[in-house]
C-alpha cells in the first residue's frame, strides 16, 4: 500500500529541529563541518563542587559547551548552554567557562585574530544553589560581552524551550544581535516568579497565551527587543547568524539606546494588565533606530 503522506507531516519530518538538539549538537551544527574542537570539555571533569555538597548529581561539563571552530571560515567560539541540565542555570563553573571564552575571544581580537562569539541561551538565570558565585559569573559574562562587541558582533540565540531569564536575559540584551524562535521566551523574571512575588492578579503563570504573547520570540522581535524571529530549523538559524555577522558592529548597540526603552517604559499604564497589542503600540522599534 502506498501511504498518502500528509505534506505537512512530511515537511515536519524533514525539518532539522534546533530545539531537539542538545547543547553539544547545537554547537556542532552551527560550526563548519569538522572544525569544532571543545575546550574545557566533559573529560576535564569540571563538576560543580557546590551541587555535590548539596547532594545533587553533577554533569561533567557543568552544562556549558565551549566549542571553538570556524563559522563560514571565520574563527568563532560557540557557547552553548544545556537547558536540560539544572534549567541551564549559571553556576560558578558554567559561568566562568562562558566568561573566560568571551574574554579570550576579545584578547584574540586585540592580537589581530578576529574571533567572533555566538551564545546559545537556554537558561533560567543564576543557579540558586551557587548564589553569589553564580551572580558574579553572570556579571563577568556581561562585562565580557560588552568588551568583545567592540571588535566583533556577539550574537545571542535562544531557541527554546527553556528560553532566557534572569541575569542572563540582561546578557542577551547586551548582545549585538539576538535571534529567537517563536517557541523561545525572553524576560527578566519568569512567569511563575512574577506570580509568586506580585500575585496572580498581576500575572497568571497558567496562561500560556499571555506568557508567549508578552515574552515570546515573535513579540520580542516586533517590539525591537530582539532582531530576528526564526523557525525551529537548524539551517535557518545558521543562515540568520551568518547574515547578522555580515552586518558587522552597529554604530550603537541596543543597550546604548536605553533612553528610548526607558521612554517606552514610562508610557506603560501599570493600572491595567498589559496586552501584547498595547506593548507593540508602545515599543515601536522604528522610533528607536539610531
Amino acid at each position: 500500500m502506498t501511504a498518502d503522506i500528509d505534506p505537512n507531516i512530511d515537511r515536519l519530518l524533514k525539518r532539522d529541529s534546533f530545539i531537539e538538539r542538545g547543547a553539544r549538537s547545537r554547537a556542532q551544527a552551527l560550526l563548519d563541518p569538522g572544525s569544532m574542537r571543545e575546550l574545557a570539555g566533559p573529560f576535564e571533569r569540571l563538576h560543580s563542587p557546590w551541587l555535590a555538597m548539596q547532594k545533587l548529581v553533577t554533569q561533567a561539563d557543568d552544562g556549558v559547551v565551549v566549542a571553538k571552530g570556524k563559522l563560514d571560515g571565520h574563527p568563532t567560539v560557540v557557547l552553548a548552554i544545556e537547558g536540560a541540565y539544572q534549567g541551564g542555570s549559571m553556576g560558578e563553573i558554567a559561568g566562568a567557562k562562558i566568561a573566560g571564552a568571551l574574554e579570550l575571544a576579545a584578547r584574540d581580537n586585540r592580537r589581530g585574530i578576529p574571533t567572533r562569539a555566538v551564545i546559545l541561551f537556554e537558561t533560567g538565570g543564576v543557579r540558586l544553589q551557587e548564589a553569589n558565585l553564580g551572580l558574579a559569573s553572570i556579571a563577568e559574562i556581561q562585562s565580557a560581552i560588552v568588551d568583545l562587541r567592540r571588535y566583533q558582533p556577539v550574537i545571542g540565540v535562544s531557541a527554546g524551550t527553556v528560553g532566557c531569564y534572569g541575569g542572563m536575559s540582561i546578557a542577551a540584551g547586551l548582545c549585538t544581535w539576538l535571534v529567537l524562535t517563536r517557541e523561545a521566551r525572553l524576560g527578566l523574571n519568569g512567569p511563575q516568579v512574577i506570580e509568586q512575588e506580585a500575585g496572580v492578579a498581576e500575572f497568571d503563570a497558567k496562561k500560556r497565551a499571555l506568557i508567549w504573547g508578552l515574552t515570546g520570540g515573535e513579540q520580542r522581535v516586533v517590539t525591537g527587543l530582539a532582531d530576528a524571529c526564526v523557525a525551529d530549523d537548524t539551517h535557518e538559524i545558521r543562515a540568520t547568524v551568518l547574515r547578522l555577522f555580515a552586518q558587522g558592529v552597529p554604530a550603537r548597540h541596543r543597550s546604548e539606546r536605553a533612553d528610548h526603552y526607558l521612554a517606552c517604559l514610562r508610557q506603560v499604564d501599570t493600572r491595567v494588565q498589559a496586552t501584547p497589542e498595547d506593548v507593540r503600540a508602545i515599543y515601536n522599534p522604528s522610533q528607536g533606530d539610531a
Binding site: A23, R24, P42, R45, L56, V57, A60, V65, Y85
Partner: protein
C-alpha cells in the same frame, strides 16, 4: 544522592572516547573512555538512593560477559529507568566504534 563503583572483565582497551546523554530529569550522562586492558570500571553517581542492586544487575547484563572493549566509564544519573541507562551505554559504545562525536 549515592555513589557506586563497579568493575568487570573486558577485552582490549577501547579506541576512543565520547559522552552521551545529559543529566536531565529521567536521563543520564555516560562518559566513556579507554580503560586498562582486561578491566572495565564504572563509577556511578545517581540521584536515587537504594538502587545499588538494580545497578549491579543491569551492568552485569551489559559487561558481565567481558566481551566489550576495556573502558573507564562515568555515569551521572538523574533518575533514568534501566532501559534508558542501557541505551545510553550502548549509544556511547556505538559512537566510539563509528568514530563520531568526540568532545
Amino acid at each position: 544522592m549515592e555513589r557506586l563503583q563497579f568493575e568487570f572483565g573486558a577485552g582490549q582497551p577501547l579506541s576512543g572516547r565520547t559522552v552521551a546523554g545529559v543529566v536531565a530529569s529521567g536521563d543520564l550522562e555516560v562518559l566513556l573512555e579507554p580503560g586498562d586492558a582486561g578491566r572495565t570500571t564504572v563509577a556511578v553517581q545517581t540521584s536515587v538512593d537504594g538502587y545499588g542492586g538494580n545497578w549491579k544487575a543491569l551492568l552485569e547484563r551489559v559487561f558481565g560477559p567481558g566481551s566489550l572493549p576495556a573502558a573507564r566509564i562515568e555515569i551521572n544519573d538523574n533518575g533514568a529507568t534501566p532501559g534508558v541507562v542501557r541505551m545510553r551505554i550502548e549509544q556511547a559504545f556505538e559512537e566510539v566504534t563509528q568514530g563520531g562525536n568526540t568532545p
